[in-house]
Point group: C2
């Protein structure tokens, strides 16, 4: 008994996550609720909440594992990202990111302005040495593949991409799929406008060559081009996309799923008795289907390529999605994803740099 | 009675559509069936079918309005487009396009190799003077907007695009929406990774400026950037996209709709008694929903910017989709879409060329 207790004590390493309590459409309410929900699952995490404490404090039911820091300012969704991060040092978002920079926290979470989260991640927390373009990674649902989700990046951090950036996304995405999702030898596909190797514009043609070289060197497992029509079928475990078309494909997927579910509901509502009854009977199953299609169940968008875990939840994320995102951060900390990437890049820096030239 | 007959005779102008009878997954069967279906609706069209007559002829039930021309060769889906169009002059696809070039036919239809259809359209039929990049246009369903469909281009003809090309797509798409769909003052949106005017890479930032200039000059009605999540909601009547991300958005939409419907069916099939019964009752309405989401009901992909109507149906298109595509061509011929675009471009050539520099 005594022995077991001692062992447990040794095993637990505590982590600190800096939380932007004011970011998101319904902040700070949803953020506080999400943190309290996450805490029940994460005994090894301390949450440092940055925000307007007059608003934040009354929302907290229990201060266990929670530290509060006053932030006098809060960024809005429309604020210009780079400028805001540089000038509004007292904002909750910038203070939370700065805490990672100074070593007070191990990771950074926000449901606020995406551009500002990215800018804070890159300028305050900093790129991993050897990675030229940190990017946004999201998990998407896969139906009927080997696994029930796949990694996709870049989802829109970088509107302009070089082939070497796409190659880096392949490396970073593979690390996430392998280390966090525990996929064996994750299959990397390049999002392109056809499956043949010579498809796409010059950037994608060149990226195909770089990814193939990386695959030959066993740095990743490249399976070739994939088309956006096949993604949800689980065509690849890691989908590499330039930020512009990755963003277009992601949003088209979200929009289509949303529109179809809405049409289905309208159809039931406005249908005849038969349709209405059918809809009523199908309701629980339909809800289930909607859930499967909700990318938020997997957590938030991860900024990969920076020196600490950074996760950005959707602005409209509820407490469950925020708790999932915080759980995702804890996993990255426990596994030491950033450290693993850093070691790999340091070891293979010559290879990576030669690709970049 | 006599008077009426005479009037009717004068009013009907006959058009000839050159049909690649061998293009498509189930050609020539589906093509022949589609042509015979279309004929019933189109008394003013004569169809010239190019193909292996030993196969084609026995399939035809009635030769009314149908002319047959032997083609000894047929292109496959995997054949290299440009090279095939240049060298395989006896193929049904190349012969059909050539008939438009020589004036024997007024328009060209194929359900075959997309790249070859494009190459044939550009190299044989030729670009409209003043248009630098013909592109693929598709109609997509819009739910809850002003209209029940919208025009989107380029869907993948051009993997690399300049801003001036995107501007041309806006002009061409507007003509289609106005002349063929009869939309009043069609709203043109630029597919981008955010709605703010400064979003996107340099090409999209510049395209935004060009489209705005064109809107100021009343050549089109530009409403700004649109995101792919909003397209199906009818965010714009004409969506301008670079061919690479337009292709990604289109295929993501198709893939998501297909995956969701498949999941819904699986869910019903594998569900409990309640779910199964609900599914059974809902079946007719679900079929209806699937139909609404089938872009083929609107016809095929149109190559806009060339000197004659060119429509490419999906390789898997059935007789209905092929008949719809042929009906679409007849409309373009009757309205004289190509002529209208040519007149506009000739009149505004200085404006257009200045945009291209």
């Amino acid at each position: 008994m005594v022995k077991l207790k001692k062992k447990k004590k040794e095993a637990i390493k505590m982590y600190k996550i800096a939380v932007d309590a004011m970011g998101g459409d319904h902040a700070p309410e949803t953020v506080v609720a999400g943190v309290e929900k996450a805490r029940e699952q994460l005994p090894n995490v301390e949450f440092i909440l940055y925000g307007d404490l007059a608003k934040v404090k009354p929302l907290i039911q229990d201060l266990r594992q929670i530290e509060l820091v006053q932030a006098d300012d809060a960024l809005g969704m429309a604020d210009e990202p780079v400028k805001s991060v540089r000038t509004r040092k007292q904002s909750s978002l910038v203070m939370a990111a700065t805490a990672v920079k100074t070593g007070e926290a191990d990771a950074f979470f926000s449901a606020g302005n995406t551009g500002a989260v990215l800018a804070a991640a890159i300028f305050l927390i900093g790129r991993i040495k050897g990675i030229s373009r940190p990017a946004l990674m999201t998990l998407m649902p896969a139906m009927g593949g080997l696994h029930d989700a796949f990694v996709m990046m870049d989802m829109g951090a970088n509107a302009e991409n070089r082939a070497s950036h796409l190659y880096e996304y392949g490396i970073l995405g593979s690390f996430y799929a392998h280390d966090i999702l525990q996929y064996e030898n994750p299959r990397v596909g390049l999002l392109n406008n056809g499956t043949e190797p010579d498809k796409g514009d010059s950037v994608h043609k060149e990226a195909h060559v770089l990814l193939q070289n990386g695959s030959d060197a066993k740095y990743l497992n490249f399976i070739g081009n994939v088309e956006s029509s096949e993604l949800l079928q689980g065509a690849a475990d890691v989908v590499v996309a330039d930020g512009f078309s990755g963003n277009a494909a992601l949003k088209a997927t979200e929009g289509t799923a949303k529109t179809l579910m809405k049409m289905l509901k309208n159809m039931i509502k406005q249908g005849n008795l038969r349709t209405k009854l059918g809809g009523l009977l199908l309701l629980p199953a339909l809800k289930n289907l909607g859930e499967k299609f909700n990318p938020e169940q997997y957590g938030g968008a991860v900024v990969l390529g920076v020196k600490a875990p950074v996760v950005k939840a959707h602005g409209s994320a509820g407490p469950d999605a925020i708790a999932a995102a915080l759980g995702q951060i804890e996993k990255m900390l426990t596994i030491n994803l950033t450290g693993n990437v850093q070691s790999f890049v340091a070891e293979h820096q010559n290879d990576l740099t030669s690709q970049q030239n």
